[in-house]
């Protein structure tokens, strides 16, 4: 063991092993930094989502929930709360208003905060554990307006009279009930019975909220799930927060992709470095075998060295990654004004795994070929690389790349696609580089380019172009991805993204509403909203029991929001069929709902709209971006085909700073409900900012990884270059000539690599934008020009810098060593 350790220490004197360590550290750092950071952002988002739910886990039912769930939770040490909400009329004098009454136990909410104001115009403050006392209610400002009441007035609910104690401005689970029409009234659970409002016929929603340690919550959920009655279900984050989740998912993919590029680049450095390491170790192994070293010892010696290197890289990389994500998160918390929760420890594991997989897959097979080095070679002068097991090396390389891709993407399909992309990319790069060099050869023969024609036959030149092009490609792709895609993405969510939905607009109010907004320069897109229940598909009655998917069941139990209009929604994508161009018949459905409820093109759907039946055939399928903040519909009927149906109108507006306008609007149009989705918009916007910032951080790693590959490639050719320069010098080539030769070779190779990289980055960026991020195509050729210049300068300088030492040396000593 001591000896193995000693040999490992001695190998440190080889630049190759140090390069190997550097490449590994870069990969581990980027993987762990991104991993830790993503985990923290994810935790923060989950916490926020839980706040929006009001607890870590919410059990909900249309019937009273069994008290045993509460007892069980308390026994496990969980916090609990209960809410019952149902629509109810509130009255004051001769004024009546429909409210959404919410009776809650005084532990509510378990997560998130209640916010209240002293009067409808006063600033909103945290309730800080306060809760409506018995005999008091807190209500939304709209109730004050509707009942012409002020704080302290008495309001009747059922058989009880309550004092309007405070204005309720925010309660955590409101966003999950975005389309609620009536103002919310919060009352103490202990007052509910006396009102006599709750009867078995009430359309009430019973909730039990639970909070506690994640593991206990999971244990609890597992225990109760089998016992849930058909009417009872556990509410999860993804169903209520689709838009936030979608954005979050996109954000983490973005970061993962950025990290992946650095890892792939570092992987290339590992392959190149281990190849030169092997070349260097070849004579040593042959000598040692001649002295009597066994194959097992050779294997052990190298495997130990590599493993120790991997562990050292993992330790340093994890530490660097941890510190970096700390800085990243710290900066971010200043940006969003909120501290991020602690990360999970999982990224630590994936960091260590990345180092081990990189070495096992990329370096070990190369070095294992050493085991088969024949000691006889040492007597024969020319040392041959063992040729066998090349297939095995290739297979292990592919497997390792796939493993790394999976570690980042956590998705077999995506990892497979990326692997395929990498293989195609490498072949493409190699083919294009060879073709480009042949072209140089052909051209320079015509103009008498001196030694340049030899480049066309040089595999070394091809390797350099491929390596530089790959590095530049990764850098460029990331730059285009960061600036271009992010800009395009941000454009889909502009600063004036709607922050309010206005619903319950009566058709007669459409014109006055437009007139109300006209002075503010706003023109509203009003969409009809018709509530209908899906009753038949192709004439066959739809039964809830026919569907196993609980989400499908819920969708069928509720009424759909249908609409009917002529203009194709900008935030949608047409997947199949034709949009209604002048047609007066047909339905356009959202892709996912069609897949879930098993209907599609050509199927005839029948809806029950307030007792009237409405049937039509599906003529198109759309993909909907739910995070667009525009009104979106599962089903849209041909324009004017539903005019006879009872309907209201819906629109979305950007109020921004002009919050007072909302109050003015409600006063003028009392029946319209304004739903503030600004919080969600802000959340998504800040997420976009977070991501763009984080990608910038990761960009630095890709840059480092690119430089490491560059050095690795140059280092791997140094011995050959040394011999070549010695021969040229001994033939009488002067320093100036050699300098010129080196400069022109690397400038040319760099420019070629840059052009190649630019071309492919442009293509790949668009493919990614289209498939991965659902964004449109754009042709920006600036990167192509810039990358040729950057490639030429970067490679020229790096190449000259790497070889300049050899220019000083006398030809004799070059030959000797």
């Amino acid at each position: 063991m001591n000896l193995l350790f000693k040999h490992w220490q001695q190998r440190w004197r080889m630049p190759e092993l140090r390069l190997l360590l550097l490449a590994l550290i870069v990969s581990v750092s980027v993987v762990t930094a991104v991993g830790f950071f993503t985990s923290r952002v994810e935790n923060a988002m989950q916490a926020q989502a839980r706040q929006l739910l009001g607890g870590d886990l919410v059990l909900t039912s249309a019937r009273p929930l069994d008290a045993t769930y509460l007892q069980r939770a308390k026994a496990l040490g969980l916090e609990t709360a209960e809410t019952i909400s149902f629509p109810s009329m509130a009255s004051r004098g001769d004024k009546l208003q429909l409210t959404q009454l919410k009776a809650a136990s005084n532990t509510y909410p378990l997560r998130g905060d209640l916010k209240t104001a002293a009067t409808p115009d006063a600033p909103s403050l945290l309730a800080n554990g306060q809760f409506p006392a018995r005999g008091e209610i807190w209500a939304e400002a709209r109730l004050f307006t509707e009942l012409a009441a002020k704080v302290g007035d008495a309001v009747n609910l059922g058989r009880s009279t309550f004092t309007l104690a405070r204005v309720l401005t925010e309660e955590p689970d409101r966003s999950s009930n975005m389309f609620q029409l009536a103002p919310v009234v919060l009352m103490n659970m202990d007052d509910l019975q006396a009102t006599e409002l709750l009867s078995p016929a009430s359309r009430a929603r019973f909730n039990q909220l639970f909070a506690g340690k994640a593991a206990v919550i999971q244990q609890f959920q597992k225990a109760i799930e089998p016992q849930l009655k058909p009417t009872e279900r556990v509410r999860t984050l993804d169903e209520d927060l689709a838009s936030v989740q979608e954005t979050l998912q996109r954000a983490t993919r973005f970061l993962g992709l950025a990290a992946l590029l650095s890892v792939v680049l570092a992987g290339a450095a590992v392959v190149l470095t281990s190849a030169s390491l092997m070349r260097r170790e070849l004579p040593a192994v042959a000598v040692l075998k001649a002295m009597g070293m066994s194959r097992r010892q050779v294997l052990l010696d190298h495997a130990f060295s590599l493993l120790l290197t991997a562990l050292l890289a993992a330790a340093i990389g994890v530490a660097v990654g941890f510190v970096l994500q700390f800085a990243l998160a710290e900066w971010l918390s200043q940006l969003v004004g909120k501290a991020l929760p602690a990360p999970s420890l999982l990224p630590l594991l994936s960091g260590v795994l990345t180092a081990v997989v990189l070495l096992l897959g990329f370096a070990l097979p190369q070095l294992l070929r050493l085991v088969n080095t024949s000691p006889m070679q040492i007597l024969q002068g020319a040392l041959q690389r063992p040729q066998q097991s090349l297939l095995w090396v290739g297979a292990s390389l592919l497997l390792a790349v796939f493993g790394l891709l999976w570690l980042q993407a956590r998705d077999w399909q995506l990892a497979g696609m990326l692997l395929l992309g990498l293989i195609v990319g490498t072949v493409l790069f190699w083919g294009l580089a060879t073709a480009a060099l042949r072209l140089v050869q052909a051209l320079s023969k015509r103009v008498g380019g001196g030694w340049l024609p030899s480049l066309g036959r040089s595999r070394r030149a091809v390797l350099l172009v491929v390596v530089f092009a790959t590095g530049l490609f990764a850098l460029l792709l990331l730059t285009t991805v960061r600036t271009d895609l992010l800009n395009r993405w941000a454009e889909t969510l502009p600063a004036d993204a709607p922050d309010h939905f206005l619903i319950n607009i009566q058709p007669a109010e459409a014109a006055p509403l437009q007139a109300f907004f006209k002075p503010h320069g706003v023109e509203l897109n009003l969409y009809p909203m018709i509530r209908g229940r899906l009753v038949e598909i192709n004439g066959k009655p739809v039964r809830v029991d026919d569907y196993e998917n609980p989400r499908a069941q819920r969708l069928l139990e509720r009424e759909f929001n249908l609409s009917s209009f002529a203009e194709f929604p900008v935030s949608n994508v047409l997947l199949e069929g034709q949009w209604f161009a002048g047609a007066t018949q047909g339905l356009s459905i959202e892709q996912e709902i069609g897949a879930m409820l098993q209907f599609g093109m050509g199927d005839k759907l029948t809806f029950d709209v307030a007792g009237q039946r409405f049937s039509d055939t599906v003529t198109s399928v759309r993909e909907v971006r739910w995070d667009s903040m525009q009104p979106n519909f599962f089903v849209i009927a041909a324009p004017n085909s539903m005019t006879q149906m009872p309907q209201t109108l819906i629109t979305s507006v950007h109020f921004g700073e002009k919050k007072a306008l909302v109050t003015e609007l409600i006063q003028q149009f009392p029946s319209i409900t304004a739903i503030d989705v600004g919080a969600v918009v802000t959340q998504i916007r800040s997420l976009v900012e977070q991501v763009s910032f984080a990608v910038q951080g990761i960009f630095v790693f890709t840059l480092i990884a690119g430089v490491v590959v560059l050095i690795a490639a140059l280092q791997s050719q140094k011995a050959e270059r040394r011999r070549e320069l010695a021969i040229l010098k001994s033939l009488g080539a002067g320093r100036a000539l050699l300098q010129r030769r080196i400069w022109s070779e690397f400038l040319l190779l760099g420019a070629l690599a840059g052009a190649l990289a630019g071309l492919l980055a442009l293509t790949a960026g668009n493919v990614l934008a289209y498939y991965l991020f659902d964004l449109g195509i754009s042709l920006n050729i600036v990167p192509l020009v810039v990358s040729s210049l950057i490639g030429s300068v970067l490679v020229g300088v790096a190449g000259y810098w790497n070889l300049r030492g050899l220019l000083q040396v006398l030809p004799l000593s070059l030959l000797k060593s």
């Binding site: 000896l3 000693k6 001695q10 190998r11 004197r13 080889m14 260097r280 004579p283 040593a284 042959a286 000598v287 040692l288 075998k289 001649a290 002295m291 009597g292 070293m293 066994s294 194959r295 097992r296 010892q297 024949s374 000691p375 006889m376 040492i378 007597l379 024969q380 002068g381 000797k816 060593s817």
Partner: protein, 223 residues
């Protein structure tokens, strides 16, 4: 005690080349006694190095047999042959083949570390380097040493385990005449002192003449 260090019987080595078999050795039989110094000479391509490799068990013959320390090599795999050499066989090569990332001292310590020798390796290696006149160069790396100095380090490395047999492949091939002579003087002095069997491959006839036995290889056969 067995007095024979190496014995071969009708050694044949062929290698496939350009679709047909090329015969490098054609039935070589020889016996080398313990403590004897043997020179093998011949023109380039006469099969000298191949024969050396077979004698040392670095490779196996196509037919015929080799006995090293009385042990037949055919039937032994690469590792078993390596185990047979370990600590008992030393090598000196034409291009020195020192490990570039190791100092002179570390290079000399290598064979000790591989084997089961007892004693303080640093002390043993230092003494070996002192014997070749490099006491002042212990911490130097190969690229900081001249060709002659590098071959001295190789000599120290070869002799440090006090091997029973030393194989030398053109030990002066990369050196100028004066340095070559110094190295040869050192080589024979050490061989004599340690009573090592010496198998020396060279094309230098005067060098071969210093050995007790002289075999000439002509087109793969002993002349």
């Amino acid at each position: 005690m067995n007095n024979t260090a190496i014995q071969t019987d009708n050694l044949v080595k062929t290698i496939p080349q350009a679709g047909r078999e090329l015969q490098i050795l054609r039935g070589v039989s020889l016996t080398i006694d313990s403590g004897e110094s043997v020179a093998i000479t011949g023109l380039s391509g006469s099969g000298k190095s191949t024969l050396l490799g077979l004698l040392a068990g670095l490779d196996l013959p196509t037919s015929g047999s080799v006995k090293l320390f009385g042990q037949a090599l055919d039937g032994l795999d690469e590792d078993q042959r390596a185990a047979l050499r370990l600590g008992r066989v030393g090598f000196v090569f034409q291009s020195f083949h020192l490990l570039e990332n190791l100092t002179a001292l570390e290079n000399v310590m290598l064979p000790l570390e591989l084997g089961t020798q007892t004693g303080d390796y640093t002390v043993l290696a230092t003494q070996a380097l002192q014997r070749v006149g490099l006491a002042e160069r212990l911490g130097h790396f190969p690229n900081q040493l001249s060709g002659g100095e590098q071959q001295r380090v190789a000599l120290a490395r070869a002799f440090v385990t006090r091997p029973q047999i030393l194989f030398a492949d053109e030990p002066t091939g990369n050196l100028d005449r004066a340095t070559g002579n110094e190295i040869i003087a050192l080589l024979f002095a050490l061989q004599e002192k340690l009573q090592t069997t010496l198998v020396l491959v060279t094309h230098d006839e005067t060098l071969a003449a210093r050995c007790q036995t002289h075999y000439r290889l002509v087109e793969g056969a002993l002349a």
